[in-house]
Assembly symmetry: C2
Homo-oligomer: 213 residues x 2
């Protein structure tokens, strides 16, 4: 149910539908995540390569940005309040940082589905396990292209992703990272069909800041 | 800056302003958290007593409730998708599960405050440490009485708590827990002044369900 993709090369790499991977990303490198067919979510998480007890924190990131709508220019923080990523470009501007990755329990509790079902949690757990990261350590993921809105009464609504074929987001690593990435397995998040996710690792660019990427 | 409160007795206990504590709560026991003076936030987190790698998950709880506005009747889930608490009564109905506990970095990044400042993170880290729980393991807290709203564009707004003097929330433990609890130290969350938080541990009640509490 998962690919064995390990980006030894910068890519582009393809994650087949309902699969995931994990890889190292060096400080300064840029992770480009592309939705090749449109309307497909990709769950992202990260840990410090030097000390995986430092993890990507939705709460810290939302707190410091003062918004749940993170896009180009925003920084994603760790639980230690240190920058892990900067979003340097974003074609879509709709991503989610509230939901945990879909898991076997998600499909049981939300979808009333019994039996086996691929899940982002399962895919992340399998691939991050190669780096010694336990399933229990997986936090709320940054759900790229997931289209979530909050009603005035607090209720959550999931709409089809706003991403069109070829739309991308680029995140610059602000420290050496272990990254987990999926092509999401949840029906509702992807408008009912499962598509691949492409990604690429671009080298640091000297003298380039946000405006020049 | 913190009290040494450890509830050997059911209480009521008082957390002095800008302090915190940690304690065990048995399955079936009800934790009653009271805002004695009004407009005061209390950050709550929990870990399984049997295996502290299982922790209170904002993402799972929000996902399964389909709302960020958790109140009486809602279940708070662990990272393993198991119920940790059920909210059995709630006088206020406004709590937050998006923000991480205020920390020394919060006061630097958000408030531009240099030097020492009491924080919920510091108080939780100190008291949970007595149970062998590391600071890095502290997740997004359930911020009781914290009044957060999300604008249509995703921006977050913190208003004074809606809690009046004596308002309370009651949470029934659904497994044996180690609980961390604070009287919040962040100016903005508490309408600019720091007040105590009271709490009490009530025994399991035979034959009582949600409607009877």
């Amino acid at each position: 149910m998962t690919t064995r993709t390990t980006p030894d090369a910068p890519g582009p790499h393809r994650l087949d539908p309902q699969t995931g991977t994990a890889f190292e990303l060096r400080a300064g490198q840029v992770l480009r995540v592309v939705d090749p067919m449109g309307e497909q979510v990709s769950d992202l998480t990260a840990f410090s390569r030097d000390d995986p007890r430092e993890w990507l924190s939705s709460g810290r990131s939302i707190d410091y940005a003062d918004t749940i709508s993170l896009t180009a220019g925003h920084v994603l923080y760790s639980n230690r309040s240190r920058p892990m990523f900067t979003i340097v470009s974003d074609d879509v501007g709709r991503h989610d940082f509230l939901y945990t990755p879909c898991s076997p329990e998600t499909f049981k509790i939300i979808y009333n589905h019994e039996g086996e079902h691929p899940s982002c949690f399962g895919n992340l757990a399998e691939h991050l396990g190669r780096f010694g990261i336990a399933p229990d350590a997986i936090p709320t993921t940054f759900n790229i292209f997931m289209n979530v809105s909050v009603a005035p009464d607090g209720r959550l609504r999931i709409d089809p992703p706003a991403s069109k074929p070829g739309d991308a987001i680029e995140l610059r690593a602000e420290m050496d990272l272990i990254v987990g990435l999926t092509a999401c397995s949840a029906e509702l998040s992807n408008n009912g069909s499962f598509k691949p996710i492409d990604f690429e690792i671009r080298p640091p660019r000297e003298g380039c800041d946000l405006g020049l990427m």
